[in-house]
Subunit: 244 residues, 2 copies
DNA sequence: GTCTATAGGCGGATAGAC
DNA sequence: GTCTATCCGCCTATAGAC
C-alpha cells in the first residue's frame, strides 16, 4: 500500500509490458516456435536469467502473448459493435467482420499465433479460453439482437445435425435458433479461412492485392446471409426476407 | 545407362526418400520452423554433413516437403474426382471436399505446412506454384463440367467486383462464368477455414469430435450451393436444373 | 558419398553473489 | 531483481581425409 510498493509494482508492470512488446517483435521476426527468452533479453539489454522473474518459462510468455492477442482482436470486434449501436444487424455483422480483418492485417503475426498452426510442444492453458471467445460472443450478440424481434427464416437443419446444434446453442448461444448457431460457427470458421488465405499468401497470383478488401467485404456479406441476417437494400435498411 | 549407374541412381532416390520420410516425422514432432538437417541425420544414423549431398540447405528440404504435400493432397482430390466420373457435379464437389478433409486429418502436419502459418524466414520458390494449384484445378474441373451444359443461375456480382472476377476467370478458370470463379475462390478459402479450425483446435469445446464429419459435410454442401451447383433432393440426384 | 573435425553461433534453465 | 557463471544441449555449414 505504500508508495514505495506502488512504485515497485508499477515498475514491474512496465518491465512486463516491455518484455511482451519485445517478444511480439521477436514473434514477427522468428515465429512463435522459435520465440526465446534469451533473444528477448538480449534485445532488451537484460540478461536472460532476469526474465525468469517475470515469466517462469518460455511457454508462460507465449501464453501471455496469446491471451493479449485474443483480447486485442476481441476488443477490436467489440469496438466495431459499440460504434454501430442501433444500426441494422447486417451492418453490425459486416462491421465486426471488417474489424477482425483489419486487426489481422495490422497484426499478422499475432493473428498467426492464435489462428494459424499450433505451436508444436505447446498446449494452451485454460486461461486462454475466455479471451478466445470474445469475437464469437460479439457475433452472437449481433445475431441475438436480430432474432429478438421477428425470427428470421433460415432453412431447417438436416435431422442428423439437430442434436449437436441444440447442444451448441445451449452451451454458448442460448436464445438463438439452433440452425443459426450452427450457421454461425461455420461462418466464423469460414471468415477466418478467408483472412488466413489472404494473410498466409494463398491469394498470391489469385486475388489482386487491390481487390482483396472488396472481395472480403462481399464474402462477409454473403456469410451474413448464411447466418440469417436479412439483406438490406440500402445501408441501415433491414429489408425483408428476400435475397439480394 | 549402365546398370551400375542405374543402381547408384536408385540408391540416391531411396536415400532421398528416406530423408524426406524422416523429415516428415521431425515436422510432426517439432514443426516446420524447427526442422533441422542435423536432427534428421541423427535419427537416420547418418552424419549431418552427408545430407548436404542430397539437399543443399535446410530450406531446400523444406521446399521438397511442401511440394510433396501439395502433390499429395492434390492427388487425393484428383482420385476422389476420378472415382466419381459421371456422377452429378454436386456429388463430385462434396467428394473432393471430403477427400481434402480426410487427407488433412491423416496428415495434419503436412496440412499445417501448406495451409497454416508461413514459416518465418522461408519463402517458397516458384516450383511450388504448380503443385499448389492441383486441388483448385480439380474443383474448377467439377464446375466447368457442370456449366458446360445449361448455365446455372448464380446471382450477379456487385459491379465493383466484376473486373477482378473476369480477370481471375481469364487467368485460371476460362470458360466459367465470372461470378462462379469468384464464388469458387471464396468457397475454397472457406473450406480450408473449416478444416483449419478443426485441425488447429478452434473447434475444441465448440463442435463435438463425433459431430465434426457431419458438420463438415453439411457445410461443404452449402458451399456447393454457393458456387452454383444444383441441390439434389437425394443422393446422386442432380435436381431439375441440368441433364449431363 | 560418407566420415571426422571444426568454426561460430544459438537455446533453456539454474545456482549463488550482490 | 539483476548479475556472472555454468551445465548441457542444440543448430548451419564447411574443409579435408578416405
Amino acid at each position: 500500500m505504500s508508495t514505495v510498493r506502488g512504485a515497485r509494482e508499477r515498475a514491474r508492470i512496465e518491465v512486463t509490458a516491455a518484455i511482451k512488446d519485445e517478444a511480439r517483435r521477436r514473434l514477427a521476426a522468428e515465429g512463435a516456435a522459435k520465440l526465446s527468452l534469451r533473444a528477448v533479453a538480449r534485445e532488451l539489454g537484460m540478461v536472460s536469467s532476469a526474465l525468469y522473474r517475470y515469466f517462469p518459462s518460455r511457454d508462460d510468455l507465449l501464453t501471455a502473448l496469446i491471451i493479449d492477442a485474443y483480447d486485442s482482436v476481441g476488443a477490436a470486434a467489440e469496438a466495431a459493435l459499440a460504434g454501430r449501436a442501433g444500426a441494422a444487424p447486417r451492418e453490425r455483422w459486416t462491421a465486426v467482420c471488417a474489424a477482425v480483418r483489419d486487426w489481422a492485417l495490422a497484426h499478422p503475426h499475432e493473428y498467426a499465433l492464435i489462428y494459424g498452426s499450433p505451436v508444436p510442444g505447446y498446449s494452451a492453458p485454460q486461461d486462454t479460453v475466455g479471451p478466445a471467445s470474445r469475437v464469437g460472443n460479439a457475433l452472437i450478440a449481433v445475431l441475438r439482437e436480430a432474432h429478438a424481434g421477428p425470427g428470421l427464416a433460415l432453412p431447417p437443419l438436416p435431422a442428423e445435425l439437430c442434436p449437436e446444434a441444440e447442444r451448441m446453442t445451449e452451451e454458448f448461444a442460448p436464445g438463438l435458433p439452433p440452425q443459426v448457431t450452427a450457421a454461425l460457427v461455420a461462418a466464423w470458421a469460414q471468415l477466418v479461412g478467408l483472412i488466413s488465405f489472404e494473410l498466409f499468401g494463398q491469394f498470391q497470383r489469385v486475388v489482386e492485392d487491390t481487390e482483396r478488401a472488396r472481395f472480403f467485404r462481399h464474402n462477409a456479406d454473403r456469410l451474413a446471409h448464411e447466418v440469417g441476417l436479412p439483406a438490406g437494400s440500402g445501408p441501415g435498411d433491414q429489408g425483408n426476407l428476400g435475397r439480394r
